[in-house]
């Protein structure tokens, strides 16, 4: 090996290749530098933004939900502190052991324990998992006091909805529940708050329809998170605004009283201020405890509510549409008078039936009433008189009058499932049933049967409009955030005062004249006397046939086929202040079942509390005294045959 020669021979060759190599390397370095420039100079804005997105999370702070009060400021829906226990696994260590330690302080049912363990396994170690909710204060305090011995177990206070009045206002106020997929789909531009797990929104009642006011606006907390989402620190925070507080027109005492009076029945009652339209009470019995829904209702409870034939979940006062029966007679009379088809004093002879074509329409009194004018027709609730009125004036004018009085039209209240009722017309029948209107249909409608349907709310509105001659509009919200909303002055309804006076006189006679159908339920205090009208509506059309054959008496029928009992009233007769309507499903006769309830409600409203016994007819005083002694215990539901 001649080492001495290699510098001469190889030196230049290495140099050339070495320089080539260096050149190539510098080329690569150039590419690297160019890429750095591209990333860090040209596009740095974009990447800066991406890095911020990585880093910063917005977290919504749920606002406190607006409260709901009655007209006196008594709470109907409040936010109660929800004492809960959460567990953070990375601090708690073995979750089983942590639960064991906790179980020595509070009760943890087996199912809950399993749920917690499952959730803990699924979520990241730093995500809090709710172990127990809705603890009472004692339990909460016990856990808090022992917290040094319970690493990773954290007592927290949140807000959850509570309805202190439970059944009393369940249908009005409604309840809140967790946001469902369906809720999200219904909204065009969903509030980001709805995405918060366990966030609750109104599901029924005022809670649902006034959701927008009650919810409030979310606060925002900007937090820095790391790559796995662990919160590192809060950067800043804007508090949200709490939802608006709502004051309803409801008087809680009256509402409670109404519910007590209806207890044991499937029934509804509405009390309305005839001047402002304020709904003082709106009861639907039976009620349910809305708190069950907030806590997460069990399937047993849910099925119980769903399958109850008394339909506790339905708000019968606005969504129940019933044939109004004889309570519709004022409307028929006013339609006939306004049309000039009859005069106030004109009489109709009642032989106990009316024949049209080959059909015979019976009066409730088989023997007939004899010659009846408007006053006596209402007082005795003579069917034939109103058959004749209806025949003369025709259905279209009756329906128009009904609409004017508030039946068959929608009253805009913050309540869901408001029924419009039904006021049929010739057109309507042709359109929906493809049949032409028959005289018999009009005659049926004359006594509030057939196709006519009204809700208890509409009947109360009708009663208020008859009492005042003004187009009173019902309302449920009296104030928002302690600012009262002034009620609008109701416009005159445009009916002849003499016609109205005649109808009112008839309603007065129903209660305050001997032999009137409501006589037994009169108010003895003359200054507070009530005027009203009873109604008994057949549930099925064929029951007329059955009655003609004398096969069944009402009491012989199963509960769900018996007649509905109704009564509408207003008081005081001289200067009306409140209108009321009551319906008891399958309750039998309106005068015997509903009239006393109407009277009691009116007295309660006028006195703003229990009236003196002297206001009641002597025959009823003993019973009322007994009932008061029993209060506030609600009477047990009678054992109706529920077949």
């Amino acid at each position: 090996m001649s080492r001495q020669q290699f510098p001469k021979k190889d030196g230049p060759r290495i140099s050339r290749r070495g320089l080539l190599l260096l050149g190539g390397q510098l080329g690569v370095v150039g590419v690297l530098g160019w890429r750095m420039r591209q990333l860090q100079v040209e596009n740095s804005e974009r990447y800066r933004l991406l890095a911020e997105e990585n880093r910063i999370n917005m977290r919504l702070i749920p606002p406190a939900r607006g409260l709901i009060f009655d007209r006196e400021g008594r709470a109907l829906a409040v936010n109660r502190q929800n004492y809960r226990i959460v567990m953070i696994r990375e601090q708690a260590g073995d979750p089983e052991e942590a639960l064991n330690r906790l179980a020595s302080l509070i009760e943890i049912p087996e199912a809950q324990r399993a749920r917690v363990l499952k959730e803990v396994r699924q979520k990241s170690a730093f995500v809090p998992v709710t172990v127990a909710e809705h603890l009472n204060y004692t339990e909460f305090a016990r856990v808090s006091a022992n917290s040094p011995a319970l690493p990773g177990i954290i007592p927290e206070v949140g807000l959850s909805r509570f309805y202190p009045e439970r059944e009393a206002t369940s249908h009005l106020v409604g309840y809140v529940g967790p946001v469902s997929e369906k809720d999200l789909k219904e909204q065009e531009d969903p509030d980001p708050l709805l995405q918060i797990p366990r966030f609750q929104i109104g599901k029924t009642g005022v809670e649902k329809l006034d959701e927008g006011k009650l919810r409030g606006h979310a606060g925002l907390s900007r937090i820095e998170v790391n790559s796995v989402g662990r919160v590192m620190r809060e950067l800043d925070r804007t508090e949200g605004t709490a939802g608006a507080n709502l004051q309803l027109t409801i008087d809680l005492d009256l509402q409670n009283f109404a519910l007590q009076r209806l207890a044991g029945q499937s029934a509804a009652a509405v009390v309305m201020d005839v001047h402002t339209g304020d709904l003082m009470a709106m009861a639907s019995a039976p009620g349910f405890d809305p708190n069950l829904f907030v806590f997460g209702i069990s399937s047993t409870n849910w099925n119980g509510l769903l399958n109850d034939p008394y339909r506790p979940l339905s708000n019968k006062s606005v969504s129940g549409a019933y044939p109004p029966g004889s309570t519709f007679k004022m409307t028929v009379a006013l339609a006939a008078l306004a049309d000039g088809a009859a005069t106030v004093n004109e009489t109709v002879f009642c032989p106990g039936y009316m024949e049209v074509g080959n059909r015979r329409f019976h009066c409730w009194r088989r023997g007939g009433h004899g010659h009846m004018n408007l006053h006596d027709g209402l007082k005795n609730s003579c069917d034939v008189y109103f058959y004749e009125m209806a025949r003369r004036v025709g259905i279209d004018k009756i329906s128009a009058m009904a609409n004017r009085l508030g039946i068959g039209v929608r009253h805009d209240l913050p309540l869901p499932a408001i029924s419009e009722g039904l006021t049929p017309t010739r057109d309507w029948k042709q359109r929906t049933q493809n049949q032409s209107w028959l005289v018999g249909d009009s005659i049926n409608a004359g006594i509030g049967q057939g196709y006519v349907l009204a809700t208890p709310l509409q009947l109360a509105v009708m009663s208020a409009r008859v009492a005042t001659g003004r187009a009173v509009v019902p309302r449920l919200v009296r104030g928002v955030d302690s600012k009262l909303i002034a009620p609008e002055e109701a416009p005159d309804i445009g009916l002849d005062p003499r016609h109205l006076a005649a109808v009112r006189g008839g309603m007065n006679a129903v209660v305050n004249e001997r032999h009137g159908t409501g006589w037994r339920s009169r108010i003895e205090d003359d200054s507070l006397a009530m005027a009203g009208k009873s109604g008994t509506s057949q549930v099925r059309q064929i029951s007329a046939e059955e009655r003609r054959l004398g096969v069944f008496r009402n009491e012989d029928l199963p509960w769900n086929r018996r007649d509905h009992a109704l009564f509408v009233a207003y008081a005081p007769v001289q200067a009306p202040r409140f209108a009321v309507s009551v319906i008891v499903e399958h309750g039998g006769g309106g005068s015997s079942v509903c009239a006393p309830i109407c009277r009691d409600l009116l007295l309660q409203a006028l006195y703003k509390g229990p009236p003196p016994l002297s206001a009641y007819p002597a025959s009823d005083r003993d019973e009322i005294e007994q009932r008061r002694a029993l209060q506030p215990e609600a009477p047990a539901r009678p054992a109706h045959d529920r077949a």
Binding site: L19, V29, L32, Y47, L50, A51, S227, V228
Partner: protein, 379 residues
């Protein structure tokens, strides 16, 4: 065989050798390492623990090693070339049996105080043995087919072993490093052309093997390649590394977010922030100015190294210097290209900056060899 200096040349001896040290490279190495200490301090949230301090100690040891290696005559190291190659080969075989398993690969031998990565040692041993081979070989024969075969076998043996671990990145580094030495030694360009074509054929074969019975790469390696081609296809999975590291670099902008202010690395969006991806932290915190400066330091090192190789008339020393410089270049170029999304993620550390024991010591040892070649070159 005794060392006979070329006529008219002078080899420094004794303590005077220190004067012939390539101090430029030594200072640059220290500078780059200091950048590493700083970044390891930063990614530990302003703490010397657990990385920065240990890295300093390793650098100290490594620097001492470099000095010691440098003082010893390059002829001695030449005599160790074949034994060190054989030893490394033996370690690579051993790692198959007793290696520690980590991240789906067998790479380490746990020596108790130290986790030895035989593939790291092999990178230097391969350069040494090839330089030794071409030093011995008559320059006339360099491009003759028969004489091209031995170095190819010498290269393929360790490459195959490393691929079995499996560690594609290191295998590629070994192959390219060897090719550089052969290139410098003067092997005809035809061979390189042919090899490039063969490589393409191999790549094609490997890619088409995906999903078949004879699949040549692990699934995760295929995933890395496919996500390299389109990182957005799997932003939370395998593409996560590339996406997050480009975000980090880009968000650094011109002058960076400031020392210890990088949110991406602070908040753990960056994977392996103290090892393979440490460059992104630097880029995020010191911006374009910082990253281009580090690139400048590296470039200076390879420039000085290459110049030293060019001026060395001793064939062995020259080839070793060139090989080591090229290997060093491959390290940082592949790492940077990888974190910037220009190359697939292959697990190559950033030399002297990434936290790692073997890499630091082996690298400083290698620079010791380079220094030895520089000190002992005929002048």
């Amino acid at each position: 065989m005794s060392f006979v200096p070329p006529p008219g040349s002078r080899i420094p001896s004794g303590p005077a050798k220190i004067l012939y040290f390539h101090w430029g490279i030594a200072v640059l190495l220290a500078a780059v390492s200091c950048v590493g200490f700083l970044m390891l301090f930063s990614v530990a949230d302003g703490s010397l623990e657990p990385w920065s301090q240990r890295q300093m100690m390793r650098f100290g040891a490594g620097f001492a090693l470099m000095l010691v290696v440098a003082m010893i005559n390059i002829r001695f190291w030449r005599s160790l070339a074949i034994p060190s190659y054989l030893g490394s080969l033996a370690l690579l075989v051993a790692v198959e049996f007793i290696g520690e398993v980590g991240m789906g690969a067998q790479r380490w031998i746990d020596l108790g105080f130290f986790q030895l990565q035989p593939s790291e040692v092999m990178k230097i041993a391969l350069v040494l043995v090839l330089a030794r081979y071409y030093d011995w070989l008559d320059p006339e024969k360099v491009s003759r087919p028969l004489w091209v075969i031995p170095p190819v076998i010498l290269t393929l043996l360790p490459m195959g072993l490393v691929l079995m671990q499996p560690d594609l990145g290191t295998a590629l580094l070994l192959g390219i490093g060897a090719a550089v030495v052969m290139f410098l030694a003067g092997v005809s360009l035809w061979y390189f052309g042919t090899a490039a074509l063969a490589a393409c054929a191999v790549v094609f074969t490997v890619m088409t093997s995906q999903g078949t019975d004879w699949q040549l790469l692990k699934d995760y390696q295929f995933r890395r390649i496919s996500t390299f081609l389109d990182p957005s296809s799997d932003p939370l999975g395998a593409g996560y590394h590339i996406t997050q590291s480009t975000i980090a670099m880009g968000s650094g902008g011109l002058t960076g977010r400031g020392f210890m202010q990088g949110t991406q690395s602070r908040l753990n969006f960056l994977p392996e922030k103290h090892t393979d991806f440490i460059f992104t932290t630097l880029s995020e915190e010191f911006g374009f100015v910082g990253s281009i400066s580090l690139l400048g330091l590296y470039t200076l090192i390879i420039a000085l190294g290459t110049l030293s190789a060019l001026t060395n008339r001793d064939r062995f020393g020259s080839l070793v210097t060139g090989g080591i410089t090229a290997t060093f270049f491959l390290y940082f170029a592949i790492n940077m290209a990888m974190v910037m999304g220009l190359a697939p993620v292959v697990g190559v550390p950033l030399p002297l900056v990434s936290y790692g024991g073997s890499a630091m010591l082996v690298l400083m040892g290698a620079f010791g060899l380079l220094q030895s070649a520089h000190v002992h070159k005929p002048r």
